[in-house]
Amino acid sequence: MITINEITIIRDGRRIIQDFSEQIPAGSITVILGPNGCGKSTLLAAIAGDIAPDKGTITIDDIHPILSAPLELSRLRAVAIQNQSFTLGFTVRQIIEMAGMADEVLKSLALTKISERIVTSLSGGESQRVSLAQAIAQNTPVLLLDEPLSAQDQASKARIIKVLQKRAEQGATVVVVAHSGESDLTWADKVIKQFL
């Protein structure tokens, strides 16, 4: 369970999130929905422990992410950022193995065929799936994903949603940031739209 309690986040003098409270239940998929620049990625970063709210608190199962050590935090939550870049020529498998076991994740996201490809040569959609696969391989109780479907075709979207639903059924708290243009959200258990 993620508990967001009266948080306000100010960036460059702009109030991005104000007095926002929410509870995100475990064992479900929650979508944070909104247009570009509305602060949804900022909210995800605050939940992940990347940035501290200017006011209020966020807890994951009574643990404050912002006060936790990086290693402890990496066992609690996994994050797939938007536009992950790769500079060195690791293979897809090596990238996933930096987080955990690769075989099952490669198979579930249809990445087995490209598992030995060098990540610097991947397309945007493939890179996005590799980033997602790495987060899933981390095998944490909380999964935070920033627009994981934006560069995917319908078949890949369906495959990713199936994997996320399976993780939620296993008890994980799955939080997905999606652009407001995302039309079909029937797979989400909860949608958060308003946080300013």
Binding site: F86, G89, F90
Partner: protein, 323 residues
């Protein structure tokens, strides 16, 4: 075979380097098998050849750490100010009488100078904005220029009998290395290597960017600090013993990456062996081509390393993808 080839090449080059020089050694193999039987071989050439191997390894690993910690293909100890800091530290130590050229005291002064200067580069690069590899490189070049100038001015104004040897050392040469010098440089190199081996998996994760590395459990700031200490031990030890040797820190990790891929744990050993190989060949060239006169070794390492690096980049352009 791919993994052992550079190591085998190093063994062959090591024997060749021992066998050639300004003075011909009679019955080379016999002299090699009987310790102490030939003074030139055992007292002059062997310490120098071993120093070349250790210095090359230290600079190769230092370059790998610099590139990994900055997540930038251009990073190397000379660009981050580490080399200049080590030079200034050693020069100050020698001039105020704390140490002599190549001594353990000079190594300590060099390591301290390297550590302080590299820390200054990191601090200045993060002064106004979040630390970026671009800021590190730009600030590092500037810091390096200032510190190098200070070291050069101090060397020039020093009115001392050993001013010539300070000047000779600062341009890079293994000519002054003795058996006694090997102890300090061996200690700093092993310490740097062990630290590098420990943090190698975290450097792999750091290549995905600070944010993703943090999500995977790495503290980027702490990791850079540890890398900075190792980098200073490796570069400080090498520079204070033999002066500035150009190009190894840049070329050796890239050559190793081209052959063995990006995994830092594998690259530590291979960057070390390739660094050793380049320094050994360059030093042998520098001391034999115009014997009995010697070339500064930095000229030879650049002549040797640069064409290899250019050839590798033209063969494979995706060694390091810039965003």
């Amino acid at each position: 075979m791919k993994k052992t080839a550079p190591f085998l090449a190093l063994i062959i080059c090591l024997l060749l380097a021992l066998s050639v020089g300004a003075t011909q050694i009679d019955s080379f193999w016999s002299a090699l098998l009987h310790p102490g039987s030939n003074a030139i071989l055992w007292e002059i050439r062997l310490p120098r050849v071993i120093a070349a191997v250790i210095i090359g390894a230290a600079l190769g690993i230092a370059g790998l750490l610099a590139q990994g910690a900055c997540n930038n293909a251009l990073a190397e100890p000379a660009i981050l100010g580490t080399t200049a800091g080590a030079t200034l530290g050693a020069v100050v130590g020698i001039l105020i009488g704390l140490a002599q050229v190549g001594s353990v005291g000079a190594i300590i002064c060099g390591v301290v100078g390297a550590l302080l200067t590299t820390a200054m580069t990191f601090k200045l690069a993060a002064l106004r904005l979040e630390l970026s590899s671009f800021a590190l490189i730009i600030v590092g070049i500037a810091v390096s220029a200032v510190i190098s100038s200070l070291a050069a001015i101090l060397s020039l104004i020093a009115n001392r009998a050993d001013a010539r040897s300070i000047s000779f050392w600062s341009f890079g040469s293994l000519a002054l290395v003795t058996k006694e010098n090997l102890i300090g440089i061996t200690i700093t190199t092993i310490a740097g290597l062990l630290i590098a081996y420990t943090i190698a998996p975290s450097l792999d994760r750091l290549s995905l960017g600070d944010s993703t590395a943090f999500h995977l459990g790495v503290d980027p700031r702490r990791l850079r600090l540890i890398a900075l200490v190792a980098l200073s031990l490796l570069s400080g030890g090498a520079v204070s013993t033999v002066g500035t040797i150009a190009f190894i820190g840049l070329a050796a990790p890239h050559i190793a990456r081209f052959i063995y891929g990006p995994s830092h744990r594998l690259l530590i050993g291979q960057s070390a062996v390739i660094g050793s190989l380049i320094v050994l060949i360059a030093d042998t060239f520098a001391r034999t081509v115009f014997a009995p006169n010697e070339l500064p070794i930095g000229l030879a390492t650049s002549l040797l390393g640069a064409p290899i690096l250019i050839a590798l980049v033209s063969l494979r352009s995706n060694l390091w993808k810039t965003q």
